[in-house]
Amino acid sequence: MKSMKELPNNKRGKKRGVFDKPRSYIMGIPIIFWLLIIIITPVILMLIMSFRQKVGYDISNILTLSNYLEILKKPSYVKILLRSFRIALIASTLAIFASYPLAYYISRKIRKGRHLLFMLIIAPLWISYLVRIIAWRAILGNKGLINSTLMALGLIKEPLSFLLYNQFAVAITLTYISIPFVFIPLYTALEKIPVNLIDAARDLGANEFHTFINVILPLCIPGLLTGFMLAFIISLGDYIIPMQLGGTGGMMLGNIIWSQFGFAFNWPLGAALGFILFSIAAVILAITQKFGSREGMLYE
């Protein structure tokens, strides 16, 4: 009866949908539990842990700032932190430069098979992270593809040792990993540019270069920002890649965090380093949400 009354009135119907209050709130129970138990609580516990201190083999319950002060005082930590920033910056910049022409080409020049080409670029995002690391070790290693090819050609006698276990190897692998992350927001930004804007620029006498500089590029800035930030965060926090390809000279923030939970066994210090990384990521994400494009964020 009630529903018959509502039927002609669309606006009322919209307000009282099938899953609207209060059933929609019951729907929220599992996800709220998930959020509280495996996201919020662990991060809070990490923050608390970062203020505790390692005393002998124990962890004291007194909360101090000593871990943070220790990090700031130790030149080696600061050095690794700065190096991590530098490597992440290089990797995300390279990923932008590598992805942009590709996104431009696929979104503007390709008519048929565009979706397939798009999928081919983002597929590596999901196909084994570890396999891709193995691949780069196989390429750059002493007995790897590059060295064995050069030796077979007789161009070198000894394997080039500068290819692996340094910052270069880490940066190139991080770039490789970052490309799909950058590509998605760039492609979405480019594809959304209305054709009539470009036609208008052409009609007003702009050539392809000028159209690109004055119309297309400015419209891509939010997408560029989102892609860059995502790649930067992913690269900054990685520890498996520097562990596998970095050697001692390519150590990054993730490595020192890892070692606090492994052989160094100083969890409070590790938690402090982890919280520093978390804060950096949170600030970057807040900036991205404000100025970047929302559509490019992975799953939206």
Binding site: P30, I31, I39, F261, A271, M297
Partner: protein, 263 residues
């Protein structure tokens, strides 16, 4: 026509695209090629062998790790489907204060570096006095698979016209029936696509898992252990198997999400 083709081939952007795709896929090809190499080292590739694959099947520890991985991924994705789908309804259809904050927090597992969640969960388990086991790994996987499914389903829900549900309601269907016969069929492909994607990510995950692993290991952690002794042909062989498996899942996932674009 012919002229146009030539022009297409000569465009610098086109050449760049070919190079870029090679950069993306050549490393993977290297892994596959080396997995069939009969020599133990990478140098002097000659001939073709499937010996390393046969060796894999006889490696009991590896098979155990593979089964563990399947167990973790299947369980995690099953939980994530329920939590993520109901969460998507909550996100799209409920109005509550702090919705934007809720959305941002839910996205965290997808965009934060995995190491943060790894150590945060490790500290959680230590505080609770839990041993590192299958359970700790499972929780880590539920952590990042849930938002994958949630946002896939939410984006579908957002575009869904409500009229079918209103019609069903007006015809006297109960909410449960409406969900089962009207809403669910319309979001089914999004759930399946999201679940496949989540499974692929879970099956492959090492960054978080590595922190939560005790003696009970998953396949990626096991492979990581194999890599400590250098890159043996078995590492390439198991990588090729994992790669093929992931590719199949991705193709399936693309099929399910492609429906979205026709809507």
């Amino acid at each position: 026509m012919k002229k146009e083709r030539r022009k297409f081939k000569l465009s610098p952007l086109g050449i760049y695209a070919v190079l870029a795709y090679s950069f993306l896929y050549l490393p993977l090809a290297v892994v596959i090629v080396f997995s069939f190499s009969p020599t133990k080292s990478i140098v002097g590739f000659s001939g073709f062998t499937t010996r390393w694959y046969i060796k894999l099947f006889n490696d009991e520890a590896l098979i155990a790790a593979l089964i563990h991985s399947l167990q973790v991924s299947l369980t995690a994705v099953s939980i994530a489907v329920v939590v993520g789908t109901s969460g998507a309804f909550f996100l799209v259809r409920a109005n509550f204060p702090g919705k934007q904050l809720f959305r941002s927090l839910s996205q965290l597992p997808l965009i934060l570096p995995g190491i943060i969640l790894g150590i945060a969960l490790l500290i959680l388990f230590m505080n609770l006095g839990f041993e590192l086991s299958m359970f700790s790994i499972l929780m880590g996987h539920v952590c990042f698979t849930t938002p994958v499914i949630m946002f896939q389903v939410a984006s579908r829900l957002q575009r869904l016209p409500r009229s079918f549900e209103y019609a069903a309601k007006d015809l006297g269907a109960t909410p449960v029936k409406i969900f089962w016969y009207v809403t669910l069929p319309m979001i089914r492909t999004a759930i399946i696509g999201g679940a496949l994607l989540a499974f692929t990510m879970s099956f492959d995950e090492i960054i978080i898992t590595y922190f939560l692993t005790g003696t009970w290991t998953t396949l990626p952690v096991f492979i990581y252990g194999m890599m400590r002794f250098g890159l043996s042909p078995q590492v390439f062989a198991i990588s090729t198997v994992v790669l093929t498996f992931a590719m199949v899942l991705i193709v399936l996932m693309a099929k399910f999400t492609a429906v979205r674009e026709e809507l």
